[in-house]
């Protein structure tokens, strides 16, 4: 089925470990995004990508790394996890902003706990 899938759904890791969250979309959308969701903060943008090999920082990029070698994949890596990165992470994709409406379409998230 077409859509956006995230893996894993749940992850527990220790402080200092590297962890990668995966995101795959089948719509061939050019834009992809990573948000984190925390109580009291809503959804905050970590990184986004306008196309393969083009990435840019969002509101809260520190401690995260992204890559986009293929249009359909947009992995998010925590190079050295900290407890403050315990959160629910959502990946999203969309068409480019333009004359048509282009809402973001979200995956079902990865709940990450850093102990």
């Amino acid at each position: 089925d077409a859509g956006i899938t995230q893996s894993p759904r749940y992850k527990i890791t220790e402080t200092g470990r590297q962890v990668t969250l995966m995101c795959h979309q089948t719509w061939s959308h050019s834009y992809m995004f990573w948000y984190r969701q925390d109580l009291g903060h809503g959804l905050r943008l970590i990184y986004y990508s306008a196309a393969a090999d083009i990435t840019d920082k969002g509101e809260v990029p520190d401690g995260y790394v992204v890559s986009r070698s293929k249009t359909e994949n947009f992995p998010l890596t925590l190079e050295s996890a900290t407890r403050s990165q315990t959160s629910v992470y959502f990946c999203a994709s969309s068409e480019p902003a333009g004359t048509r409406n282009s809402p973001l379409h979200f995956g079902n998230g990865t709940r990450l706990t850093v102990t």
């Binding site: 809503g42 943008l45 986004y48 480019p96 409406n101 282009s102 809402p103 973001l104 379409h105 079902n108």
Partner: protein, 113 residues
Amino acid sequence: GESVGLHLPTLSVQEGDNSIINCAYSNSASDYFIWYKQESGKGPQFIIDIRSNMDKRQGQRVTVLLNKTVKHLSLQIAATQPGDSAVYFCAQRVTGGGNKLTFGTGTQLKVEL
């Protein structure tokens, strides 16, 4: 700044009544607004959107109203059903900022039987 906020954190309505969820935004350069619904354990789900050159848009049982003069957005849900219970977010996009969205903190809608 580009803050997007909500007036009420929790809204309780009776089944069958109409619901109105409000949202204030601060950036007058916003050109596109979206309402999302989020159920427990799931990602935000697109409900309805509106561009800044419109003031009203209707979908199935939902209507979005945009008042640019006072920077206010609302979502109206007609004949609210138990399945409408969720957290609702408004989001805005600033012109020229790619397709990045800034989200409000959300309103919990509870439908009472």
